[in-house]
Symmetry: C2
Subunit: 679 residues, 2 copies
């Protein structure tokens, strides 16, 4: 009689094994993705499986109730102490006694997929660079002298197949105590990148250490620094946090920071120190939020534009301020966190910076490429990552083009009179009645609209404090749809618009959204200057996209993906009304959320993707907006807030756009903008 | 007609090359060892060659006067500026015009041999881990965006065949400025160890940087720290210096330092900080001596015993103080100098610690193995490295055994009443007239003997300050030969020895070598305590050697090599009279000088040897003296200062040893020593 058959689901892998073979052993021999940290010692419980009983016609197996060995004391002890779902067994304890079908639940897979939060987010398969291994080490013997480290390495080779390991000095220093305290068993954290460096043991704990270890995915933007703290076991985001980039005091946009470095000796070092201190603070804050020790953060992935990339590394960004915009290094950079003075996290934490695509197209664009994968799309997709610099990708499986466009910080609520960053109390949605010209709005932290009777009470705590990036985009688009703005971007007077909310403001007009002055609150308006700032920003964005379409030789795209730290909050309809993006049917415009941040998280959780991005990046064709005359042309042409006509035929299906003209031709701002710019 | 023949001497390599081929190109194609840093651009002059003219019957070539291209302006400019030996040409400028014989002088070879200073020192072939490369880098192009670092790497691959390079962060930070200052040519220093780590660019200079770069070979002893500063171009020792190990204040011998670490929380960190600070000071002092910038020191090799090894790395040595004497790590350790706070040298300097053989047999023994290579000797050779711990190796091509023996610091002049370290003014040689029992001596810094009329004047400056290690060994041996000591080590009284220099000293006697008290100088005697300290030290040494001989199953050895920081100064004759070493004919006992230090220098200059020592060390069989009962037996038996009989038959041919016995049997020290030890 042949050995019993073991069938694993969901993989379908199967094989015959002698009676008494542990399920974990069978799984390993068949290459089934069944996790284990303790190597089958009944300690870690990562190898939980669910045996089936009965008829499995699909697999041609009938499983008897005694197909596995009896529930044993190790399993009972684990269940008593830590709990175990009914029907589950430990794969290292249950042994084969007869034909059996064994299901590996998702959480027992090494390469488990991270649960998708947003429908649009691409799933992440766990394969982090840093993993824990429990190992039993041979005791020292005077007659066979070898170092404790060498015996640890031999054990890791024998028990886990890990070879060619390198140990950090801190590990050499802690190892002897840990081995003796753990009675010759320890858990080590091994960082193993998929490139040519040797895998390194970065930490050691006595006995079995459960973890989890954590990683940070940081989107280091010009204006904001956003961080996700992720478990490296299951990829869960356990906390998210953000701070303003402290470099703003040296210059709001990137070029002014480059100028600061050029004009002030030591200026770049000053900015480097500021951003590193801020990241240390953010690391501590996010760890406090999640109630973990920041020293359990062993990895940190950064995505950022080239100037932030250089300033983080302590490289003078001066070359990025002038043609040919030479990067100091374009490849991915991996180094110890300590070399960047990022001392809040684990002492041996490793930093990974995604590669830069070009002098103006950074690691953030690479992260967007990783997240949105235009190179894997059959349809021609335009990905627009909105920020102080917009990263724009256009492509499909055939070819991907990339550029960066200097939109400025208006989309992030900066340079806007009532602007603020996205935080409770900020107006994020707005509607203007086309007849009455009266607005209603929602603020962050409250689901009610402002015309709801319960709104005042519901927002009493946060107040109504300003307008965030997505709010100002909606406000401008709604003003245009309500006939408060003409296509040139001019706000009409009360007489022209028929609403007292259009109030004189110097030589121009503002639109009053909210007046809280009677309760010591702010007076929130959209000024003519705000409109101009948004026009400049959206023109830059649109011009970048058009430039890529020219390069690609197309007039339309199949899909538009809006991304960015606040990309999830931009309404596709309003973006189209504003003319931020090229014309498309509304159903083909989607929001991807923070694609750069998501790309950072992918790189954090999956070292194969991390290694692959360098190859992807090298295949992307870069288009340099700064030296392309067509970019200027598109920029100027894109200034208007469009009519529902060419090049925006789809606009007509979305919104009626009143054909108004508030330019009186007699001084004022109307028509004078271009003259002023020339002055 | 075939292409001209080019023959290189001394290698004899030959080949035909088209007219116009530069000699450097021909050399490279044939694999001739001809140096070049600038890659053939007429800048570095490393490729100097000497063409022959006339009949070369050995090679079957007749060389015409015009066999090479004419002397050119590049060569003339170099000669005017830097000088060039008559007859020399630059291999990158001189091209093949006819059959030619070209000699590569030693200094133009990449793998040049270091000139041997001592006849006994094994020659070193240069192959340092860190080398300079001059390289021309393509300028950046906006349409082909790539980082400056990536273009540098491409250039290094194309021009030097270097692949898979890694750049230190400091290099990324300096690169852009260097490239532009050097007009797109730079010199880089690449550290390339022969193991699995990627070669790393550790520094960059604009244009052509000649070097040289330097390395430190440090023998980190329990009592003294000795350093050689070597050029990494030609291996020359440009300066040597030493300091006392500051850890002496925590304990004179290793075990008392281990105890200090065990008894005092933070005690190990204190000792680590002390030794690192001392090495930083030594680095600066030696650089000042050599008039170089300490930041040009890019490598540092350490040899040391296991306790010093751990304390240098910041590892608590407690495990080394108790069986089974487990090392934290036994393999070679390579890491950045900065990780050890060795900040005086280059910021990216790399440290290499030789592997330890066992818990009591350290990297210093490995270095002795590298220097003396017993594993390559057909004769059975005993290598004794004398220090506070003696490292002892016994072996030949078949097998090598090693042990360490705790001799204590007596051989280094410590624990000796008039002892001092080897410095000007210290007595280093001594003779005692067997008839008159009068001594004469030499001091360090003066070649005259003390009975020379000019001696007083010649030593007026240094004075006569004490006795160093080699001096005390000679003193004790001479006292035995002159009948002042009996075989048990007892100093006779004036009545017994017939000299007033034998003076009462408590219950025992001392021998007066020098009395300088009338000139406010010291009174230098050899006390009974000094004799006992030397007896303990030499017994430990002898017992270790005997133990290895037992293990090897031999009663005699073919050769004895005395090594150690002061090994070169030990007189083989006196060592034999003392019974420090097993019996051998005098001509087979030689001094090797500082073998551990020489081994460190070999590892510094030659990365192949560095890589090979790990393999050699693994093949060495370790013998643990601390747990071997035979060691104690040998130790007790070796206490006497021997008669010229078994086991020392060769002694009879060296020196008559008077058969005296000063033990009166009535109290005093004689015969009472063992009782006192038991008390």
């Amino acid at each position: 009689m042949s050995d019993p058959l073991v069938v694993f689901t969901p993989s379908g892998k199967r094989g015959h094994f002698p009676v008494g073979t542990p399920i974990l052993t069978a799984a390993r021999q068949l290459g089934v993705d069944l996790d284990s940290v303790c190597g089958g010692r009944g300690i870690c419980s990562k190898c939980q499986i669910t045996p089936g009983v009965g008829e499995f016609s699909k697999h041609g197996v009938t499983v008897a109730p005694d197909a596995l060995s009896k529930w044993n004391s190790v399993e009972q002890r684990y269940k008593d102490k830590r709990g175990l779902i009914d029907g589950r067994r430990l794969g290292c304890q249950a042994t084969v006694q007869g034909d059996v079908v064994v299901d590996v639940p998702p959480e027992s897979q090494v390469h488990k997929q991270v649960v998708r939060k947003a429908a649009s987010a691409r799933p992440i398969t766990m394969d982090p660079a840093t993993r824990l291994y429990f190992v039993e080490v041979v005791e020292p013997d005077m007659h066979e002298p070898s170092g404790d480290l060498e015996r640890l390495k031999r054990a890791l080779k024998k028990q886990w197949g890990l070879t060619d390991l390198f140990a950090d000095l801190t590990v050499m220093r802690k190892l002897q105590t840990a081995l003796r305290k753990g009675q010759w068993s320890v858990t080590v954290a091994v960082h193993s990148a998929l490139h040519d460096d040797r895998p390194r043991i970065i930490d050691v704990w006595p006995g079995y250490f459960e973890g989890p270890l954590y990683g940070l995915a940081i989107d280091l933007g010009s204006t904001t620094i956003a961080a996700h703290l992720c478990s490296l076991t299951d990829g869960d985001v356990v906390a998210s946090s953000g701070v303003m980039n402290p470099q703003i005091r040296f210059g709001e946009d990137l070029m002014s920071r480059v100028s600061y470095a050029m004009m002030n000796p030591g200026g770049d070092a000053e900015m480097t120190a500021a951003v590193r201190a801020s990241i240390n603070g953010l690391t501590e804050a996010i760890a406090t939020d999640a109630m973990i020790d920041p020293k359990d953060i062993v990895e940190c992935v950064f995505v950022c534009n080239p100037v932030m990339h250089h300033l983080l590394l302590g490289i003078d960004p001066v070359e990025l301020g002038q043609a040919p915009f030479a990067l100091a290094t374009s490849e991915a950079v991996e180094l110890p966190a300590a070399e960047l003075d990022l001392n809040s996290m684990h002492d041996s934490a490793r930093i990974f910076l995604l590669p830069c695509i070009a002098g103006h197209v950074g690691a953030d664009a690479a992260a967007v490429a990783l997240s949105e994968a235009p190179d894997q799309s059959d349809e021609l997709v335009l990905v627009v990552d909105v920020g102080t610099n917009a990263e724009i990708l256009l492509g499909n499986t055939t070819k991907v083009l990339a550029c960066s466009s200097p939109t400025g910080p208006a989309f992030e609520g900066a340079q806007i009179s009532s602007g603020q960053r996205a935080a409770p109390g900020a107006i994020e949605r707005i509607e203007i009645d086309p007849t009455t010209k009266e607005p209603r709005f929602q603020v962050i932290g409250c689901d009610l609209w402002s015309d709801d009777p319960a709104f005042a009470a519901a927002t009493a705590q946060t107040g109504i404090t300003g307008i965030c990036g997505s709010g100002i985009i909606e406000a401008v688009a709604e003003m245009r749809m309500a006939g408060l703005l003409d296509p040139s971007g001019l706000i009409g007077s009360a007489a022209q618009t028929g609403t007292e909310r259009s109030i004189p403001d110097g030589r121009t007009h503002s639109y009053l959204i909210y007046d809280g002055t009677d309760q010591d609150g702010p007076r929130i308006t959209v000024t003519q200057g705000d409109i101009r700032a948004i026009q400049l920003a959206k023109s830059a964005l649109y011009a970048g996209a058009r430039l890529l379409m020219d390069e690609m030789g197309v007039d339309t795209v199949d899909k538009v993906t809006l991304a960015g730290a606040f990309g999830a909050h931009i309404s596709p309809k309003h973006a189209m009304v504003l003319g931020m993006i090229p014309d498309a049917t509304l159903e083909n415009v989607t929001s991807a959320g923070n694609a750069a941040g998501h790309g950072a998280r992918i790189a954090l959780c999956n070292r194969t993707q991390r290694a692959g991005i360098s190859k992807t990046v090298r295949a992307i064709e870069k288009v340099e907006t700064a030296i392309e005359p067509k970019f200027q042309e598109h920029f100027v042409n894109a200034n208007a807030i469009p009519h529902a006509t060419d090049p925006f035929p789809h606009l007509a299906t979305i919104a009626p756009l009143p054909d108004v003209n508030f330019n009186t031709g007699s001084g004022g701002e109307g028509g004078g903008r271009r003259r002023r710019r020339r002055a």
